[in-house]
Subunit: 368 residues, 4 copies
């Protein structure tokens, strides 16, 4: 259960890595939105395997088919079902995994939970599941971009750290453009760091190893008032969204873990009046106060562990619990971060749009 995300703009994904297809049903999409498969494809192409020489070479065109919910080029308000056929599935390549649990993968826990598992490429636990998230996120992003024409919501994620290579402090003050992010295969908008990162990833791949890192996401244009006290705080739902992604181990918003080393007098964001509205002089809050957006830029970091799949022999046990060795081989993604950038953006869009609709329902519907 729980293959669904969101309360009003809700998304149900389905599909396994090596089954016939993966897909998503989007329920609650506002009607009358112009929508073409090509717009969704653009985001899927940023997630697609094989797009550069630092990601997995699995060959998938990831061609999306819209099966419902769009009529004569516009959404109808009914569920939008989208499907992507799996093409380059190689079930045979996974025969070893039928009998052995891959370390730090979900093989053992799926077996423990369900009593069986689809061992091919991780089955449901594969990051291939995120195809559906990206497709749904593309719709959410378009809505957010159009919601307030004068102030489109812009969501920009990018890689700020790979292994121990990080963008220098203060080097990314400016909101990066999409072009700056897409300029390099690693999707780090700081060119010098990006070049080093790419080198590091290739190095890891050449030794059959893998690396992790950090993705930062920034959002501007979000109006004040989104986020629900007390359990569905905006940062709580963002944290959940990020920790629901494969390979993530941490989330911090605004000043995050570093902010714990400041005193209150250093950390508080003074209010001021600027441009005709209430603003904060600094933004250690990260655009969210008391769980609700305050109109400032929202920014957060997501930690990704190094890819669990490595091409080195590893100690493990088989399904009977007997010690054995896993001689991993096959395709492998030495660093998931470049492809995860668009997934982080997609999940962010889903969270913000859902909260926008909830805010409208409770606080925008009736005037007393």
């Amino acid at each position: 259960m729980s293959n669904r995300f969101g309360t009003l703009f809700s998304v149900t994904t389905w599909g396994e890595s090596h089954g016939p297809a993966v897909g998503v049903v989007v329920d609650g999409c506002p009607p009358l939105l112009p929508l073409a498969a090509g717009e969704i494809q653009a985001d899927l192409d940023r997630r697609r395997p094989g797009q550069s020489d630092i990601v997995t070479p699995r060959k998938e065109e990831d061609r999306v088919e819209i099966l419902s919910g769009v009529f004569e080029g516009r959404t109808t308000g009914t569920p939008i079902s989208m499907l992507v056929r799996n093409a380059d599935a190689r079930p045979g390549a996974y025969d070893e995994m039928r009998e052995k649990f891959r370390p730090s993968h979900a093989d053992y826990t799926y077996q423990a939970k369900f009593g069986l598992r689809d061992h091919q490429g991780g089955g449901r636990s594969s990051a291939r599941e995120t195809v559906g998230r990206v497709a749904a996120g593309a719709i959410a992003r378009k809505i957010l971009a159009l919601a307030v024409p004068a102030q489109p919501v812009e969501i920009r994620a990018f890689v700020t750290q790979v292994h121990d290579l990080a963008v220098p402090a203060g080097a990314l003050e400016k909101f990066p453009t999409l072009a700056e992010v897409e300029a390099t295969a690693v999707r780090c908008p700081h060119p010098a760091t990006a070049a080093a990162m790419i080198e590091r990833i290739k190095q890891a791949r050449s030794t059959g190893d893998s690396v992790g890192g950090v993705i930062q996401c920034r959002v501007r244009g979000v109006p004040p008032g989104l986020g629900e006290p007390v359990f569905d705080r905006l940062e709580a739902d963002l944290a959940k969204a990020m920790l629901s992604l494969p390979a993530t181990k941490g989330f911090e918003i605004g000043s995050g873990f570093a902010g714990t080393r400041l005193k209150g007098s250093e950390h508080n964001d003074a209010f001021e009046s600027r441009g005709g509205r209430v603003r904060t002089a600094t933004n250690r809050s990260g655009g969210v106060q008391g769980g609700i957006s305050n109109g400032e830029e929202i920014y957060f970091n997501v930690a990704f562990k190094p890819t669990a799949t490595i091409l080195q022999p590893q100690r493990t046990v088989d399904v009977q619990g007997a010690p054995t060795e896993l001689a991993a081989r096959g395709r492998h993604d030495p660093c998931v971060l470049p492809r995860a950038v668009v997934i982080v953006e997609a999940m962010t869009a889903l969270v913000i749009l859902d909260h926008w609709m909830r805010q409208a329902a409770q606080n925008g519907t009736f005037k007393f």
Copy 2:
């Protein structure tokens, strides 16, 4: 909306800081559990203001009243309604806040969201709301302790960092006892660090300032199989639970942010057979793989910012947006972490119990 947490064992909290009362309704509690108000009171007393000289002096006995769902000493399976009257409410003390937004509090965002706000002590955004969470969490903890008598689930949170004072690396290898945590007012089970932390908090209070820090939570006894792919991963729901707490800015599980600096070959947890079952040789995963518990100890860190309330004049604006100064005064909690320990434990219990019930429903009900 969204004052509800959990899907099967669900909790709805209500109440404002200076209203007549705060409370909670627990829905979905299993029947036949022996339950007395005193058991809930024990946890509330750990959250209570005024319990030591390093927390807010607000005088609240926080006496809990059980209004339903318990009959002749046992739960009936119907909703358990619990209520705590507010005693030491001082509405008059907040007259200044009626007109001015406190920096880094939720005053401005509540106003922006709802068009009005209860300005007294933060109203709904006050940490006083967590009374209900702790009361509900006490029930969840009892159930988890009894679920598998031979292996009770134990949840232990404690303070590992205050301001820049942190427990030395490797100093807390052992699962701390409750007595060790409760031994000091700051609830850090490392006595030397605890003493320094207490000094630092008193120092902050004496200058009208505040400090933040980090709470770690460890859980042992959780069976393999809890956590739902793909959106309701166990760590995703834990992250949401923690980020739904006032003043939290970050969450990391297992190797967390530090783990991003390891290579896959260093980070993977090898499987081995130990004590008759599948175990991992190391535990960088933090007890969760693919969103599902693997039977190892679950551990995670939560970042708390320094308390926003400080007793120093601060620059802000009034409700009309005009610049002004806030001359904060009154009671104040120079460091929320000691009282937050039991709240972190409560939320952890709610997440784990809910997932236990979901696991049982889908995977324990039918045998084919």
Copy 3:
């Protein structure tokens, strides 16, 4: 579980018949609504026991206390917690029920489900639980009355049948006024029938027996567009709301069961243009087409079985399954319909308001 109703304007009730109190938490209420306890009391007084000589003589003032969510006379958008203390609880009067299952009550099924039960007055299964529904419904009705000032939503329920006494066909063409409904203790706006009904109820009471009947509910002022295809059709949620009430056995909307005997050519409601908008010439649809309101009057009937509590000896078994006789005695409601009228209205209001908010969220928030 499941003591919650509604998705956006959601209501959680709690409490047992002879526990300390009953109550409700309303989550999702729009802010800024003027609200006083007296407005809620007015509806509770229509539900109150002891209000006339044809209902149970249990003495309950049912005085409501608002514990949260209202500040300086207006709702704040945070949860509204309301509580009514039980006064005339007579636990001792139910000693016999501890050992014996009352026929056609929930005694046996609660025992079977939960493994124990609060036997006093039915515990949670008592109609006393509906106190919380009525309190929440009073808020929903006020919002609906104010939503579109020029066209307030009016909800009017009334008794149309008691035992075999029914209002003559065609006698209630006009939308009854509240005064007409309240004119008699039985809440049937057709005076001649009402008089006969009252007589019938007294007759049943005098023989220790009980009677059932039918309540009709009509709603006008609902705009077109409320109701969600496909599962949360407006009539589906109304049906659920009504069948969730104690003692109900049936629901029909529009032409209902009688309409099954018409041909399509007789049953279809022709469209026409009237008063500047699309109307139907007839209204066999009952105001709902394809699950969505069409702007016509919504009307439906609810069947209530005769009260299960009767003051006659009945054959039953004890908790060990041994045959025995129940010598029922004590207070008893010979006909629940007069008091159920306001409960039907409350549930109707909850359904319509929730759908209004859902409609606004999806279809009123964004313009493309």
Copy 4:
């Protein structure tokens, strides 16, 4: 929104009558269930158009494809996505409906709600949506049949009334077999009445008219204890499930509307001990007391209005509100009841299975 049904065994349907496909995603299915497409096909074939000479001649094979959630012949516990391509879509046949609202269809209300509509064959409001329900229901039925091998849950729906032709009172005391139901095209297990019904349907079709009727559903083998107080009573969820079906106007369980004419002393079901367990001597409750199953047979009736599509000219308005005439033509189902039988069974299975899992989660997981 709301294209989802069920809390633990949850079902999301999608698709339009004349879009590329219709389908469903089943979330929460227990793992290890043997499942083949053929088993689902068997139920789809009972719903299929063109299966006899008294239903619509639309040509659809309704061939189901399972896209996920089944691995090597068994369910994996992950979402089961099923798809049926639309074959005999004739978009051109609906040109008239683009401009005119069909009486008693959802054309006008969809337009009012969403601001646009897919006019082809009713788009999302078409009964074609129920393909997904039947596919999901087939899985639920299989689980229920296997849950307690010694006492499989059997769900049998059948037609008891068409227009004014009803099975004689008392003629169907015995639980009908599937063969008896399937013996006639009208799916009424009383042969003489079935013959008359078929004649009546053909007569309606020959005049371009349509007829409605009543379907009864009976369920045996349900253990005591299913159903949640207070809002998710078993009968409440059944009522919602039935009223969520196209063309339904009423629901009654047990004694239903007729029972309102009995006195309590006549209506109550006396308890007795029979076969070693608590039974009721009569079953006016319909197998449900206090919202919870009592182990007796569950039975209820569902009212279907006559099909709104008729082949006679009808008065209506166009999308601009101008009066016009609809010259209906094309394929048409003179009576939906024969095909609706399996849909009623499917929805019943979904409700009962979901409640079974909820019951297990709360009341079967922990022993104190």
